[in-house]
Symmetry: D2
Subunit: 259 residues, 4 copies
């Protein structure tokens, strides 16, 4: 059964900083944000986790395998190298949405995101007894995205299609299952999911097709941490490509169930 | 009158590269993408342009002020420092959507985004006679986003709200005006727009409020290039904050018209 | 007793790459090199190690605490994000120079640094039984460098003074003790040393003063890995500043011996 | 005749910052320094300049082609993205050492490098009438460095050889000609030189060979800015490789004089 550990990474008092003493150059802000995310992705990724840029000033990471010392180190190292600091809230639950709820509450309880005195909060307790199927990752992509969109439409209209698919999927998985979906570039969406059956994924894909006409497929994997689960998911997605299937479930032991 | 120069930055044959010889670590891909975008933001931003990450494998930049030599340098420098190369398509038109259509066609005409032999294409012709109102930038944010969302909801549910607002706005501006909207983090959306009146912006904001219940305000600026226009837009947005208005039009000469 | 684990990080076939098909832009090479080093510093540093840029195409890291899987991950992640790959040779010995000798031999035995077919070699065996004083770090700086040099001389002449001090120290510690000294910026030199007495450090400082007239002080620390040893060394160096002493030995247990 | 424009880039009050409130993690400092240098190399390099890391807290750049607005932009953008700020001093003279003297004096006159109140100084006046031979770049490397050192000695002993060569060359060119030499990685040294004859370069190479036994060759180029001069130098160095010569003078017009 899944036991997802999520960390909310929140830049402290970022909004006010971006306009103090007057609005800063937008491209410097974009650079700062994307490099901070890149560093987070490296830090978390090299410990088996996954990080998502979400809104950039608030980022979400799957941190199964990272303990409190790892979080402290991330916080210290970020503060040493950036003009901003970060607060970290950790939450754990079989259901990803509940885990993030807890992670968020830890920071909200310590003060507002725009409270100038609330800096470098660290709240929450990591998983203490890890098991081999704590994390479930579903890796979606859009069928024939290059042929149907990238090589046919102007880039913004391609992007609108992908965005509509993402918006429909993110709502559906959140509301129906408590799964959290993140756009990761190209035509790829990665979701952190609770235990779900093949039929559940099929229903999600059908929902997106019916509501916005975007045609998805998905590979799913489980593991002790996000990287292991995600790699199983990527391999399962390759199986979809080879077999023309819409859903492939890999898993901790590598067994594959398809539809 | 606006005369927008847009550049489509497309990573050559990226999809296949990410799974060759087998799927690469997702966090390395995320790092590569976000750092490539950061470098693009610095390069374009230091020449007065704006860059948006869009889908990361396809990025869109407002490049008024950058000539062909600048584009060649960007292409050469990227190829020297990354394991991937980029193709660049330039398009110019008073209407941003049409400009991007042209930029995209230049690359599509040279081959597929996943054609292994199509590398480092450079197509299109930059603006030859710049004027002081070539670029119009509209900078939107969400009213009271921190109080209503960030400090109240879990981060994913906050993100869903912002995303719904973005999805509604991006479609509306694209379909009604040919404006291109990009989420830039936090609760901020930056749109590259054609000439639009205060009433047009008001209608866009009303549309988003009515369809998804997200409450926006916007500052608009014009200039010879994106940075000048964007800075005027940021200052106009500060005016919205101070005056409680929903739309403020700055402009090249700094005059402000509000509603 | 020290038991230093050193890793030689060598960019594969780098020289030929920099001039193929013709010489690449020097500032792109400088950027590539310094960012690769920065990533190495983050990777190694977050695991308790120290990395030094040395010649950039060959870098030296103190990697006590990093196992073979860590090295494989570094190698894979670098290859995923850079246009070049790295080979890694690990060596262990109480004497740092001998450890590096072994680390180097592992790579040399696998082929030339400019052999196009020799890529991503991983050789050597990490420490298997760590102890609390495996690593000794000596952190030197120049007395009154800002007052005597930076605020008085032109920057190059300041730099020459620092360089002369560094060149004298690096040779002395290498020849007399097998210690390896690295310039780390400003007026700072960090040496990886074997067990040495206060008198040995005093003699090194005297040698530098006598031969090139540069006046050093040093804090020394020991620990299970470089970061712990280096932090003890930094604190010992602060003691030198407060007490006006030339040598302060901190140590694993924090006891301080001064002269 | 050369007319070198040099900029001293000095991190404001850096030393005290690195130990406030207590010593910061060394690898974070190394990362910060090398990334700041990488950004400087990109900024300056994309405008035709060259940047050298020198001591990292003080960096030297050849900035012919960059005006005051470029310098202001560099300063603003750095301050927006780093936890430190930089002061910039510009100096111009036919002789590089004199140019740097002036660049340095501008900052020294504004206060100490460790004066907490002296931030973001910008001093000096860029070249107003550029000509095609304002910058002279000499690119040295070590003959057979891979065969004689990298593939034979342990990495530190290779490095000692290169360092000795560098230390001898830097002093000689500084004292005899006012040329400024910078180690740029591998076995490469780049010098910013005044007008010098082939015999002068030959004498420098002979001096290094006689004093420390390191065998150099050099390609020299001139241009309106450092990149053009440096590329001519790199091509001239390739000529040395092909012809077995020790000195090759390329030049603005591409004519080559060899010895």
């Amino acid at each position: 059964m899944t036991n997802t550990q999520l960390t909310l990474v929140q830049i402290d008092n970022y909004g006010p900083w971006t306009v103090t003493p007057e609005p800063r150059r937008e491209m410097d802000l974009q650079t700062l944000q994307s490099r901070l995310f890149a560093d987070l992705a490296q830090f978390v990724g090299h410990r088996g986790g996954y990080a998502f840029f979400t809104r950039f000033d608030n980022m979400v990471a799957v941190t199964n395998g990272l303990d409190l010392d790892d979080h402290r180190l991330l916080q210290e190292s970020t503060g040493n190298r950036y003009p901003v600091t970060v607060s970290l809230g950790i939450g754990v639950d079989p259901n990803p949405a509940v885990a993030l709820e807890r992670a968020t509450e830890g920071l909200q309880g310590a003060g507002s995101a725009q409270d100038g005195d609330r800096r470098e909060v660290l709240s929450g307790t990591p998983v203490t007894e890890p098991s081999g199927d704590d994390v479930s990752i579903a890796h979606f992509d859009v069928n024939d995205a290059t042929e149907k969109y990238t090589d046919q439409l102007n880039e913004f209209d391609s992007f609108i299609q992908i965005e509509q698919g993402y918006a429909a999927l993110m709502r559906y998985l959140r509301e129906e299952h408590g799964g959290l979906s993140f756009f990761v570039g190209g035509d790829n969406i990665i979701a952190v999911t609770p235990d779900m059956a093949v039929a559940d994924y099929r229903a999600a894909i059908d929902h997106v097709e019916e509501t916005v006409g975007v045609d998805l497929k998905v590979g799913v994997g489980q593991g002790e941490h996000a990287h292991a689960a995600g790699m199983a998911a990527k391999h399962a997605l390759e199986e979809c490509r080879h077999h023309g299937t819409a859903v492939e479930l890999g898993g901790a032991a590598g067994e594959v169930e398809s539809e």
